[in-house]
């Protein structure tokens, strides 16, 4: 853990969830104008807006908690790859709609549980964001599950593609439930949740959707992690380079 975003544990905790939402929101946003149908353009944009909205709220709150004069936008736009603490899952690229949906499904199933738990946080701001985000995540999960089922139980080709996407992204799923010291401390303080406690419920959602989708639960036991300590895959850097380009090219201006 060489690069610490902030020495304030609460701020660091909020930032990691903001990062998850920022990064997946950015990935979804990159897909706009490329969807398989016009209706799906609207759906994907709505989901992107929800994630970016959550990120914005959380970054702004973290900046306030941190109290060092940074703004929420500074946290989003001026931290490096090593300082971003998102899960590896959300930074994964999609080669098309199948991977986009598989990534979203795994993450939605996790976030629906996470926000439900954080809605009870003793931290009022976090609890407020979580209550709103829980409703959004429920809808996102409904959307992504519906697609996993349709693609899995659709044509031979779509079954093959969504199975492949599920297999490819599986290795990034265990990280969601890895608790580190910060998680445990926040959980003990009643502010946060120990993510390992969400695992069983996540598995049962995932199993039942995969089953309805006639998909095979991936068997590969290899799992990778590191996002929470800023050790990413090689995909986050280029994404941040694009996302932060304007702010870094013209430092210190308002937009």
């Amino acid at each position: 853990m060489s690069t610490v975003t902030t020495r304030n544990p609460l701020a660091a905790y909020i930032v990691r969830h903001a990062d998850d939402n920022m990064v997946i929101g950015q990935r979804l946003a990159q897909y706009i104008s490329r969807a398989p149908e016009l209706e799906e353009e609207l759906a994907v944009a709505n989901i992107a807006l929800d994630h970016i909205g959550v990120a914005d709220h959380l970054f702004t709150y973290a900046a306030k908690v941190e109290g060092g004069g940074r703004t929420g936008d500074d946290l989003a736009m001026l931290r490096t790859e090593r300082e971003y603490t998102n899960l590896l899952l959300v930074e994964q690229e999609h080669d098309g709609f199948g991977e986009l949906i598989a990534r979203q499904f795994f993450f939605d199933a996790y976030q629906a549980l996470l926000w439900e738990a954080l809605a009870d946080s003793t931290d009022d701001t976090l609890s407020g964001v979580a209550q709103r985000a829980a409703k959004e995540a429920t809808y996102h999960l409904r959307h992504s599950s519906a697609w996993v089922i349709r693609l899995g139980d659709g044509t031979h080709e779509s079954h093959r593609r969504i199975q492949r996407a599920t297999d490819r992204l599986w290795r990034f799923t265990a990280e969601m439930f890895e608790a580190d010291d910060l998680d445990r401390q926040m959980a003990a303080d009643g502010i946060g949740v120990d993510p390992s406690t969400l695992r069983d419920a996540w598995e049962s959602t995932v199993d039942s959707v995969l089953e309805e989708a006639t998909l095979t639960r991936p068997e590969d036991s290899f799992q990778t992690s590191g996002g929470r300590t800023g050790v990413h895959t090689e995909l986050l850097g280029p994404m941040l380079a694009e996302m932060q380009w304007l702010q870094r090219s013209y430092p210190g201006l308002s937009w």
Partner: protein, 314 residues
């Protein structure tokens, strides 16, 4: 009931400023004109997503990013409303899309220009959506009911588009020298294409007379263009920016701003398909459609397998 009576009824509805509805009898040429205009309007909304989507990933702040996504999403929605209105005349969206993809139907020439800086996002909202709004407000009074209703809904959503664009321009005009230069450069590139959006002069416009008499069009190209110029010139001045037209001057007598001559050669070549990005825009659209084929096929296959069940529960 013979066709003559039907035609008289149709004309009476138009004369009374009432709306023609999908199942009404209508002259074949009216039907074709309305379909063509609504379809090309729909195509424009959808293709128009691309130049702005080009900056979503690079938007400078989270708020600007969210605004831009919401705006581009609205344009997808406008495409949806307009295709939906067109489909009331028994033409399927698939058919219309095919016509777009094969170049048999066109979209507004404005979307063939590239977005090269963040200021272009401001300029598009302010000038391009601004021009579209002038046009669409008038179209709320168009004689085909579903088209008029789609316009009402679209106009409600559009005013935020122009405002967010102008808000970007105000921030840039108020910013650093580099931001001011960015702002001016965007105006220099988008001003004339925005004026071209209104189409050729009335004297050159093949469809105007017929469309006016059927009240599909309610104002001519030149009238609409003048409305736009009159409202936009003071806005440019407020920004402290220059409009790239040395001949622009206020005509005291008429109370209107007079503009210099538009480069119609550029306009027609863009319409013909030789604009900056015509090929890229269509290629992008076709690729998205083809890449999505397996998804659509899957959804259809799933519905067939489970179709009975879903229909009953619906």
């Amino acid at each position: 009931m013979d066709a003559r009576t039907e035609e008289e009824r149709f004309n009476a509805i138009i004369d009374d400023d009432e709306k023609i509805e999908p199942r009404d009898w209508m002259p074949e040429a009216y039907r074709k004109t309305v379909i063509r205009q609504m379809a090309q309007h729909a195509h424009s909304e959808v293709i128009g997503m691309q130049p702005e989507a080009n900056w979503i990933a690079r938007a400078p702040t989270l708020l600007r990013k969210a605004i831009l996504i919401a705006k581009v999403q609205d344009e997808a929605g406008h495409g949806l409303y307009l295709y939906s209105a067109t489909e009331t005349l028994g033409v399927s969206r698939g058919e219309l899309q095919e016509l777009l993809h094969t170049g048999k139907q066109k979209y507004s020439s404005i979307f063939n220009y590239p977005t090269l800086s963040w200021a272009d996002i401001g300029a598009i909202g302010w000038l391009v959506d601004g021009a579209a709004i002038v046009n669409q407000i008038v179209l709320q009074g168009t004689s085909y009911g579903p088209y008029a209703r789609a316009m009402v809904k679209i106009c409600k959503e559009e005013s935020f588009h122009a405002r967010q664009g102008y808000s970007i321009m105000m921030t840039l005009a108020d910013g650093s020298d580099s931001q001011k230069a960015m702002c001016q450069d965007a105006i220099d590139r988008w001003w004339w294409p925005s004026l071209m959006m209104f189409g050729p002069h009335d004297s050159e416009s093949a469809h105007t007379a017929e469309s006016m008499s059927w009240k599909i069009k309610r104002k001519t190209n030149d009238e609409l263009r003048q409305m736009f110029v009159d409202q936009t010139v003071p806005q440019a001045r407020y920004l402290g920016m220059t409009i790239p037209d040395p001949d622009l001057e206020f005509d005291e007598e008429s109370g209107h701003w007079k503009i210099g001559e538009i480069d119609w050669e550029e306009f027609w070549s863009t319409i013909r398909g030789d604009g900056r990005l015509n090929r890229e825009r269509i290629a992008h659209k076709v690729k998205a459609w083809e890449d999505g084929a397996w998804v659509r096929e899957a959804a259809t296959a799933y519905a067939v397998k489970h179709g009975m069940k879903l229909d009953k529960s619906a």
